[in-house]
């Protein structure tokens, strides 16, 4: 059952006249209990895509030009601020990248957690306290009672990210947006947080859209993956299939540039020649064409559409077999 579906989302930045398209016709969906990885290099538009899809990308300066984002039967693009606030924190949970700066430094952990409940539910202070404590225990925080009195600066990065996860999942949202939630953490903590998110996903049955640039994390944690390049999805497939048989030249180059334990130590990592075109300089053709070995004259003139076949999608005229 589909929890969240984004259709043909296009987002641009800047005022009238100087508008630059950053996300261009992106579509994806995520099912109950499923994790969709949105992967791509810095600046490809993955964060803007997910934050815009749940209307959390500040506007202005951003602007959603086209598209719909369906949470159940509700198109988020048609909602006013009040209706959106009713969904944020209750049906949509969000965990951001940097736990060190994502909590308010002058309020206690307890008051920031209770705020989610106070915003969306009625109930006595004692009930709230109980729910907060139960949630903190659920995300693996020991001595939750003591944590409630503490301020963010008294907690480590890993604990803060657990607090933020508890905050986002307090009301058991059906959709979790995770915007690089493990990027700022060391590898051990990263693994712990991913394990926790997987458990909670299975327990609550929520769908997760997981933004990352780390293919290792995608392989470990995601069910399906969509690869973004220059504001578009170029390929999407089940994780196993994508890693086993990448079909888009960019996906293949991306996988080739990831070191594995088997790579010889003296061998240089493979790199992709050239630069990602900046949003203002994308031509009419395929954005990857200037850096692609397979590119033909057609690629430079006409942008390939994302076409679905055999349960996977691809936007390329000359797929790698």
């Amino acid at each position: 059952m589909t929890v969240f579906r984004v259709d043909n989302l296009a987002v641009s930045f800047g005022g009238a006249g100087r508008r630059v398209r950053v996300v261009d016709g992106v579509s994806f969906s995520v099912d109950r209990g499923e994790t969709l990885g949105l992967v791509g290099e810095s600046g490809c538009g993955k964060s803007v895509t997910v934050l815009s899809s749940v209307r959390l990308q500040p506007s202005p300066p951003s602007h959603v030009d086209t598209g719909a984002a369906w949470l159940g039967d509700t198109n988020l693009m048609g909602l006013d601020a009040k209706a959106l606030r009713n969904l944020w924190g209750s049906r949509i949970g969000v965990v951001f990248q940097d736990p060190m700066t994502s909590l308010n430094p002058v309020f206690t952990i307890g008051s920031q957690l209770r705020e989610t409940l106070a915003t969306h539910t009625r109930g006595s202070a004692a009930e709230r306290e109980e729910r907060v404590l139960a949630m903190l225990a659920r995300v693996g925080i020991n001595a939750p009672q003591r944590r409630l009195q503490q301020y963010p600066h008294e907690l480590s990065g890993g604990l803060r990210q657990r607090v933020l996860i508890a905050m986002a999942l307090m009301l058991r949202p059906e959709l979790l947006i995770a915007d690089e939630p493990t990027t700022a953490l060391d590898v051990t903590l990263q693994a712990q947080i991913l394990t926790l998110l997987r458990e909670l996903r299975d327990e609550f049955g929520m769908g997760i859209v997981f933004v990352t640039h780390d293919l290792g994390v995608v392989a470990q944690f995601c069910d399906r993956v969509a690869v973004m390049y220059a504001g578009r999805i170029v390929e999407s497939a089940r994780v196993g299939e994508l890693f086993r048989a990448p079909r888009h030249p960019y996906t293949r180059a991306l996988l080739a540039s990831t070191p594995t334990l088997e790579s010889p130590k003296d061998q240089l990592l493979a790199t992709i020649e050239g630069m990602v075109p900046s949003p203002g300089q994308r031509g009419t053709g395929c954005s990857f064409a200037p850096r692609c070995g397979q590119a033909s004259s057609r690629c430079r003139e006409e942008a390939p559409q994302l076409i679905e076949a055999d349960g996977r999608s691809l936007a390329c005229f000359h797929p790698v077999s």
């Binding site: 959390l56 924190g89 969000v94 430094p105 933020l164």
Partner: protein
Amino acid sequence: MIRYLLGRLGQAALLLVGVSFITFVLLYILPADPARQLAGRSATPETVEAIRVQLGLDRPFHEQYTRYLGNLVQGDLGRSYAQKTEVTEVVAARLPPTLLLMAGAIVVELAIGLTIGVLAALRPGSRFDHGAMILSFVGVSTPQFVAGILMLYVFSVQLDWFPVGGYGTWRHLVLPALTLGLLGAGWYSRMMRSAMLDVMARDFVRTARAKGVSEWRVVLVHAFRNAVLPIVAMIGIDIGLFMSGAVIVESVFGWPGIGQLAWQAIQQVDIPIIMGVTLVAAVAIVLGNLLADLVAPFMDPRVRLRTPTNR
């Protein structure tokens, strides 16, 4: 905490000795002669000399200063030359009006400054923002005697809303407090605007929005509590500015406080009063800063008090 306070008080004592010394030196080298001033124009040189001996002004500088310091330690600030009463009594009688005026000015600068700052930051680049920033610039740049006289003219003389001067009811307080607080209001509206713009772009504001918290709560609770932190520290420093501002404002409005007393004492070369007022001002500045430092940990949990000596 006790150690911290003791350390700070020790520093304050040293500072007061320093302030008293500098003021004493300045008054000593001043060309004005208090004895001649007291004796009047028609006095004979013998009378002037007699008064000088009586006040101890014929003694060498170090003797005068050590005697003053000795009395000061015992809480004796001497007698006013002109009014023949104890300096402590004169100053104590003039302190409450000045404290009231300062409290009024703090209310003015916070109420006007923070409100304008927050509103301007909510719509940066808007007409309100531009207008507010021009106004705050005017507030910061207008000398207090000009602002005071303008307010007197407009609100007392023309509109007759407030009394022209004096002391007693809240209506007497409004214009002097506005005049004294205007400078701070201008400053704070600019500081608050930039602090709010900075804080509203922080990650935790985004987190609060993502929880579904209402926009006014995001602004007035999450952002405001962080943006106001530097301003709380500034209020302590303001008390020093208010002391110098009070001299002008109290003179313009005939407000019977320390500032007016200082102004009169300077005209009469009433050295004990000048010394007394200077020391009170120094104490006020020290206390203001101490208060700001003591409040800081309650406003910002990341701040810990640390004795300056063991840093």
